[in-house]
């Protein structure tokens, strides 16, 4: 059997030396490869050095992805929250007026759903994945947590899951009064009035320390907390403190005449005609109507 000599595998002196000398192009390639490797090593060393700096080692309790994405996640969180709103309206987004209407616009109207509709009963739960994605993108989006807890406790009939959501919100936002406000609402819904009172007290205490935020929304929240706490004071048999809370509400919103009437009734008889339990129930019911389905019809 014949063996075929392979010069490259033999001794250099046996003729394989010519193949082993790299050409000029090959030498250039090797040079470039070495330069890239050196640069890569430098970049790696620099990255290690930067990550070992003490100010970057602070434990913020947030994941790596969270830190890498930076403020992009806030935008993503807002987008996903808006998506939840769109899902609630059966895929119909916000209406924007158009400058002109042509054949394409008419066809678009045919293709895309329009009108003002809401999901109902268990269907509402379809917004949950988007709220879930929203709070994963931005764990400080308390509104998303609150909305999720509201529907879980309501339509889903799962207050245990709502409580879990609010506990997660509390872990991520320990100083936010809105989480305690929602926990109070949940406790009221469950009829745990003593617990609700503690949550509203905590919410009010945190509210007094809050400096930043949407001022208008904060006024509405304060009025809500004071009203709930006032009703709970009534249940505790403390009409004076209840009246003080209502007075504070009327200072914020002077147009709330029913509050004034209730204050007068409490001043005269130490109790009001409408039972506080009924009012708590109706207040919770009022909260669910965020926009009327037939308002544009």
């Amino acid at each position: 059997m014949k063996t075929i000599p392979t010069p490259a595998c033999g001794h250099p002196s046996e003729g394989g030396d010519q193949n082993q000398i790299p050409s000029r192009k090959g030498r250039e390639r090797i040079g470039i490869s070495i330069a890239v490797m050196v640069l890569w090593c430098l970049a790696f060393a620099l990255a290690c050095r930067l990550l070992n700096m003490p100010e970057l080692q602070k434990n913020t309790g947030e994941g790596l992805v969270y830190q890498i994405l930076g403020s992009t996640r806030l935008e993503a969180g807002d987008f996903l929250f808006e998506q939840a709103d769109r899902v609630f309206h059966k895929g119909v987004g916000h209406y924007h007026p158009h400058a002109f209407t042509d054949w394409f616009s008419r066809m678009r109207n045919e293709v895309r759903p329009h009108g003002h509709f809401h999901l109902h009963r268990e269907g509402v739960l379809e917004i949950m994945p988007w709220l879930y994605f929203s709070v994963r993108a931005d764990p400080h989006n308390v509104t998303a947590y609150a909305v999720a807890a509201f529907w879980l406790a309501g339509e889903a009939g799962r207050p245990d899951l709502a409580e879990g959501v609010l506990n997660e919100a509390l872990r991520n936002n320990p100083g936010d009064y809105r989480v305690y406000l929602e926990k109070g609402n949940l406790a009221v819904r469950q009829g745990k009035y003593a617990m609700a009172a503690r949550f509203f007290d905590a919410a009010l205490a945190l509210f007094r320390k809050t400096k930043d935020g949407d001022k208008e929304q904060m006024r509405i929240d304060l009025a809500e907390m004071l009203t709930y706490r006032g009703l709970l004071y009534e249940l505790e048999g403390n009409p004076e403190r209840a009246a003080r809370n209502y007075r504070e509400v009327t200072d914020i919103f002077p147009g709330r005449l029913h509050m004034k009437e209730r204050m007068v009734e409490l001043g005269k008889n130490s109790h009001s005609v409408a039972r506080p339990e009924d009012l708590l129930g109706s207040l919770l019911l009022e909260k669910r109507v965020v926009c009327s389905e037939h308002e544009d019809k």
């Binding site: 394409f104 293709v111 949950m128 879980l152």
Partner: protein, 261 residues
Amino acid sequence: MIKSIVIAQQVWRETLRRKDLYVLFILLLAFFITLMTLNVFGLKSLVGHIKEIGLLLVWIFCWFLTIGISTRQLPHEEKSGTIFSLLAKPVGRAELIIGKWLGACSMAGLATLVFYVVLGGIVLARGGTFSLRLALEAFLLQCCFIGVLAALGLLLSTRMNGDAAATLTAILSVAAFLILPQVPQWSANVVGRQREIMLAIYYALPHLELFDLRQRLVYDWEPLRIEPLGMILAYGLLVAAMFLVIAWLAYRNKKFSRDII
């Protein structure tokens, strides 16, 4: 027509030999499995988000596939030199373009059908619903979308290399899909020359958003009426035909050089 079908068969074989289709399919399955295993606040049997994200993925993958298949056909033939043996046969350039378009459309359409079936199976298995008529309408309109996109890809690839044609097709189609529906709203705040340019672009580019029935399908709206469905299908076929005619005009006198081999 027979010659075009033979060329289309060649496109199918070439696409099936490549890995794109299988990679996309595996990716889609991976996404679906991830979505299904998601624990959303402890709730089970939620299906709306799977429908919505699933359909979005089907659209994106169909987009990739159509652009990939359609834009590489002619440049690949020219680069490998097979265009000479192809045109030496009694095949006209119009037949070549139609054959390539047919092949790209049917392959991407078939892949989309498989994606729809997989998504439909998952949704039904999780207790969700899909209106069959609406799903058929959505698929039909998506096929029309594929036809327009493939024709645009072929048109651009007659005078560009494959990568450039794919990039430009992707940019044009994504811009048309996302920006054109906003023009009637934006033009309210613009006057003069800017408005004219905006309207010129609005009417020049194909309105791909008309082929998108995802929202109706996801939220179980009633099916599209026959009249608008027919009009949109006719519009799609017209645009695709127009692109194919321009592609033929651009390609009929094109000279090929053996130097590029």
